[in-house]
Point group: C2
Chain length 193, copies 2
Amino acid sequence: MEHIKGYDYGKSGLESSPISMEDLSLLKQTVLWSEEDQANLQKAGEILKDQVNDILDLRYGFVGGHAHLVRYFGKNDNPNMEYLSAVRARFGQWILDICQKPYDQSWLDYQHEIAKRHHKSKKNQTDGVDAVPNIHYRYMVAFIVPITMTIKSFLAKKGNSQEEVENMYNAWFKAVTLTVITWTYPYINEGEF
Amino acid sequence: MEHIKGYDYGKSGLESSPISMEDLSLLKQTVLWSEEDQANLQKAGEILKDQVNDILDLRYGFVGGHAHLVRYFGKNDNPNMEYLSAVRARFGQWILDICQKPYDQSWLDYQHEIAKRHHKSKKNQTDGVDAVPNIHYRYMVAFIVPITMTIKSFLAKKGNSQEEVENMYNAWFKAVTLTVITWTYPYINEGEF
Ligand code: HEM
Ligand code: HEM
């Protein structure tokens, strides 16, 4: 795999996640997670892996088309193109990772790193940019919808049956929701997460 | 409509929502909200209204089957049956409201009231109970998944075409996500919502 700038999955310097494997297990039960979801995500990864660029085009079109979203990629409403493209590469890798990686301690630790990168605790540092300092919490949860809904047509593009597509779609929905929960940790009042 | 204890929608004493109608409009754009979603929710309301009890049975079965969830309805792992049944009546009304009510200032204000009722700022007060003081944030967002996914079979029960069911389902998903965003306001660090 080519080197992706700022992609630090599994690196030793990462802070440990404040979320334990036991917390994660209860969260999985709460989002109705089952063994089949894991298999369905693996299958989704196979289907999505050569469509990553198209998914990114769609996503960047959506963000770019909304001033209240694209502003986080720059300052004074001027998007920073280098920042956008550095994040794009890591986003592409994330699509594979959410499907393929086991949700173990390394996964939790990198989710916590990404959490901090959206939050003011570490936003902008990875790419050394001068941009809006914090992504507002509300849009982190709101993005569950476009990130989930827009994946379905890509899952349906390789001739799988409708039932297979539905199963992959539901697994993706659960995985994205779990992910967003881990990414919102830094925004939550102490002791209330 | 029969009187529901503690159901204060539209009452004059409610605090104004910290979320403005303009904030709501940007959030709607972010969850891909359109005019059709509103119509589809109205239609969903017609389909769900005589199934409310079955939906509540399913939901209470799910919560009751998980110690890490049912604990919020009581103290020291003893669920309080009166509390459970008072909330059940308001939950039934909510299913109708999310489908039928316009998302205006009154809607925002009552969402803020429900937010506080899940959070330690006002949990237990409406029913005057002695129970766990705060629902942990993580489960508020996690519940988007079961509250969304389990509605589909109810939407499909009245002979609508698959496409109609999908459209109602997607509108419900967006509405539940919007709702949860408004309900998590009290948990968020100042200035970061
Ligand atoms: C479901 C919600 C979201 C997903 C799945 C997502 C995905 C990602 C991914 C995979 C990365 C790169 C992580 C890494 O460094 O390895 C990233 C970074 C970033 N995302 Fe998001 N994102 C979400 C919400 C948002 C929202 C709501 C915004 C605001 C428009 C946003 C703006 C950004 C920015 C500015 C960065 C770069 C942060 C930095 O300075 O390192 N993201 N996102
Ligand atoms: C999508 C997320 C959720 C939805 C749609 C939902 C729905 C509702 C509704 C409609 C009410 C009554 C509101 C009113 O007073 O009019 C309520 C209250 C309550 N819910 Fe939730 N809920 C959610 C998350 C949770 C979670 C994660 C728990 C924890 C297991 C929980 C436990 C409770 C409790 C204990 C009350 C009573 C609060 C009080 O003391 O007033 N809810 N919920």
